[in-house]
């Protein structure tokens, strides 16, 4: 158990150290690190609560899968990219990527805690020339234990 715990710590540390190609806009830098449960509003339609997971060391690994048949293959090389996470819930994930992703694209994520999941992109919004906020939904929901491990 100790060896597994050390492995996860080491993996988390390695992921945090990987340089990320995302260029954060200045207005976001000041308020970027954030943890804790995200507030909801009257029109909230999400099923599960979201938790902020923002910080310069809060990263996940992303691999885009070839899901859209006419998307030019050159724009999606088989590379694993580090991304900044924004928030996470049992149903989905918000993150920052350096290029645009399209609704319907499938991606594979590796999160801290050795959690690997497939997600489908739902929306994408440009924040800067190399910074896009992306919302994705998990194709298989995270369990409560996995969520506790991520937000702890």
């Amino acid at each position: 158990m100790l060896e597994v715990s050390r492995y996860e710590e080491a993996l988390g540390a390695r992921m945090a150290a990987v340089p990320c190609p995302v260029v954060l806009p200045e207005w976001l830098l000041a308020d970027f690190p954030k943890r804790g449960m995200a507030p909801t509003d009257y029109h909230e339609a999400r099923r599960y609560p979201r938790y902020h997971l923002r910080g310069h060391n809060e990263k996940a690994l992303l691999q885009c899968l070839p899901t859209l048949p006419t998307l030019p293959a050159l724009t999606r090389p088989p590379v694993v990219w580090p991304v900044y996470t924004l928030n996470v819930s049992r149903g989905g994930l918000g993150f920052l990527h350096f290029e645009q992703l399209f609704p319907g694209e499938w991606t594979r994520f590796m999160l801290p805690g050795k959690i690997t999941r497939l997600a489908e992109v739902v929306w994408c919004r440009r924040l800067g020339s190399r910074c896009y906020a992306v919302g994705a939904r998990w194709l298989e929901k995270l369990s409560i234990q996995e969520m506790r491990g991520i937000v702890a």
Binding site: T70, L71, Q100, G104, W123
Partner: protein
């Protein structure tokens, strides 16, 4: 097998046509697609069977394939109030391709007349495809229409002034889609965007640029009511919804898909759904944005009268650099103002 005798008396032949029943079994009308009688080419041997709908809703064979319908037959069908005949849904594509080929190659008609004939011929089949709701029917129908439009507009020397009088300006979605497709082709030719295949893809993307509106709640915006914002937000989802409906198809090109997804992006980055700016927006989407705005001012709408072209260009000029690409806007102005 029904027989059409060209030497029969004035109404005898038509009577025979209309009385032909149970030469084959009546066909379920759900599997039939309407074809406007006015658009049928006289004297041409049709490649598919034609049916008519009886009063009890069944369809009976009107004319077997490889037979011709003559001008007099067409006139008399119209006199009797028969506005549409029907073809089997699985043969509709074949008739469409044949028909478009006939119209496109008919050099006895000026381009504007060919354009109007093609538009009128495609209105019913497209309306039927959209009413059916299946993307499997809609995309091939739009592709054929786009191919025909591209072939007509590509004729050397066809100008906006040739076609503008033939372009309708009612408020229907079909009219708007057709006008945006036609104008997109004119602008694409002006900026020398690609060859025959690319032009057909541009027309296909333009025809379906507002496809997502069918998939969102589409109420008139209530500016001052609490629900107004919700309605506006719902409408702003239509590029994404249209993209999601079409993105997994292998017969809808990626560049045309970008017209559906990005036609509401603005040059200054304040558009939707992504907020792309300048050259990040696909060139075909930038073309579509300009002509979409142009046709928006040309149309009859409940809250505004249609404007003349000079006024429209002046209105669009105010948005150059903010909403529209400046270079493309200059090209579009020269397309619209160029006279013979």
């Amino acid at each position: 097998m029904p027989v059409v005798n060209g030497r029969a008396g004035k109404f005898t032949k038509l009577r025979k046509l209309l009385q032909m029943t149970v030469a084959c079994e009546p066909t379920d009308t759900r599997s039939l697609v309407p074809v406007a009688v006015r658009t049928l080419p006289a004297g041409e041997h049709l490649p598919v069977d034609m049916y008519r709908r009886t009063e009890d809703g069944q369809a009976t064979l009107l004319l077997a394939k490889d037979r011709a319908l003559w001008s007099k037959d067409i006139d008399q069908l119209l006199m009797r109030g028969v506005e549409a005949v029907y073809v089997a849904a699985d043969e509709a594509g074949r008739l469409r391709e044949w028909f478009i080929e006939k119209i496109v190659r008919d050099e006895s008609r000026v381009p504007a007349a060919r354009f109007a004939l093609l538009r009128d011929a495609m209105k019913r089949p497209l309306h039927e495809a959209f009413r059916h709701g299946s993307v499997e029917r809609i995309v091939p129908a739009c592709r054929d229409f786009a191919t025909g439009l591209a072939a007509i507009v590509r004729d050397a020397g066809v100008r906006f002034s040739d076609l503008s009088s033939a372009m309708a300006n009612d408020a229907s979605c079909f009219t708007h889609a057709t006008n945006v497709a036609t104008c997109s082709l004119l602008l694409a030719i002006e900026v020398e965007t690609g060859g025959r295949r690319e032009l057909a893809a541009i027309a296909q993307g333009a025809l379906l640029h507002d496809f997502g509106k069918r998939l969102v709640q589409n109420k008139p915006p209530q500016e001052r009511s609490p629900g107004g914002r919700a309605n506006r937000d719902a409408i702003r989802e239509h590029p994404t919804r249209g993209f999601q409906a079409l993105c997994r198809r292998t017969d809808f090109p990626w560049d045309a898909l970008m017209m559906v997804y990005q036609h509401h992006e603005r040059h200054d980055g304040n558009g939707y759904p992504v907020g792309l700016a300048g050259r990040e927006i696909h060139p075909w989407a930038r073309i579509c944005a300009i002509v979409n705005g142009f046709d928006g001012f040309r149309r009859h709408r409940s809250n505004q009268a249609p404007l003349d072209e000079k006024t429209i260009l002046a209105q669009l000029d105010c948005e150059t650099g903010k909403r529209f690409d400046e270079e493309l806007m200059q090209c579009w102005k020269s397309v619209v103002t160029r006279k013979r």
